[in-house]
C-alpha cells in the first residue's frame, strides 16, 4: 500500500511517501493511523493530534471508519488551507 504525506505531516514524518505492507486484517483508516503512529518518533509526532489529521483513500476524503481494504493509495495530511 502506498502512503503519501503532505504539509506538516510530511515534514514531521520526514518523507513524502512510503510503500508499506500493512498487516492482514487491518480494516479502517483509524486502525491504520494507530499502526503508523508507533513506527517512528516522526510518525508519532505527525499523528499525535488525531483531530488535526485528514485522510484520503484512493483520492477520496475518508473518515476514521472508512475501509482501507483494497486501497492503492492512502494520503495523510492536515486540514487543507488553499483558496
Amino acid at each position: 500500500m502506498q502512503l503519501v504525506y503532505f504539509a506538516w505531516v510530511r515534514t514531521r514524518i520526514g518523507k513524502d511517501a512510503e510503500t508499506l505492507a500493512v498487516p492482514a486484517g487491518m480494516m479502517t483508516v483509524s486502525e491504520l493511523l494507530d499502526w503508523l503512529a508507533v513506527r517512528s518518533p516522526g510518525h508519532a509526532a505527525a499523528l499525535e493530534d488525531r483531530s488535526a489529521i485528514k485522510v484520503a483513500v484512493d483520492q477520496q476524503f475518508a473518515g476514521p471508519d472508512t475501509s482501507i481494504a483494497g486501497a492503492s493509495e492512502i494520503a495523510i495530511f492536515p486540514p487543507v488551507t488553499g483558496g
Binding site: 486540514p79 487543507v80 488551507t81 483558496g83
Partner: protein
C-alpha cells in the same frame, strides 16, 4: 448541468483575471451579471513568500467535483476556476473564481459556493516564509468550515 459549465485549471503561472472573464462572457449572449473573486497573498510585514503544496493526483479532480456541484445548483451560470500552486510572493493572486449568469444573485452565489468549498475541500496547504528565516504552515480556519457547511442545509 455539465462539467464544462465551470472550467477548472491548476497552474503555477499567474493568470489574467480580466482575460478569463472576457473569455467566459464571449460564450453566451444572455449574461447580465459577472462576478470575480480573487484570493491574494497578503502583504503582511515580514512575509517573504507563500508556497502552496498540493496533492497532484487528487487536486484537479476535487476542484472539478466542486465545479460540477455548482453547475447542478445554478444551471444558468457558467464559470472558470484557476488555482495556483508553488511559491508566490506577497500581493500575488492565488486563486480566481469568475462566474457569469443572467441573474446577479446566481453569479454571486456560485462564486461564494465555489470559494467556500475550495477552502475546505481542495487539497492545498500553505507554507509561509518569514523574513526572520522561519517557516510556518498556515492553520485551517473554523470560519471556513462554517462557511462551507451553510450550503449543506440549502
Amino acid at each position: 448541468m455539465t462539467l464544462s459549465a465551470f472550467g477548472a485549471r491548476l497552474q503555477e503561472d499567474s493568470f489574467d483575471a480580466a482575460a478569463e472573464q472576457a473569455a467566459l462572457l464571449a460564450g453566451r449572449s444572455d449574461l447580465g451579471a459577472a462576478v470575480s473573486f480573487t484570493g491574494l497573498v497578503r502583504a503582511d510585514h515580514g512575509l517573504i513568500a507563500l508556497t502552496l503544496e498540493h496533492y497532484p493526483a487528487m487536486t484537479l479532480a476535487q476542484i472539478q467535483a466542486i465545479a460540477a456541484d455548482a453547475a447542478a445548483r445554478w444551471p444558468d451560470t457558467i464559470g472558470t476556476i484557476i488555482h495556483r500552486h508553488g511559491r508566490l510572493l506577497p500581493g500575488e493572486a492565488i486563486v480566481l473564481v469568475t462566474t457569469a449568469s443572467p441573474h446577479r444573485a446566481h453569479a454571486f452565489a456560485a462564486a461564494q459556493f465555489l470559494m467556500d468549498w475550495l477552502k475546505t475541500k481542495a487539497p492545498f496547504w500553505k507554507r509561509e516564509e518569514w523574513a526572520d528565516g522561519t517557516t510556518r504552515w498556515v492553520d485551517a480556519k473554523g470560519s471556513d468550515d462554517n462557511a462551507a457547511e451553510r450550503w449543506l442545509a440549502e
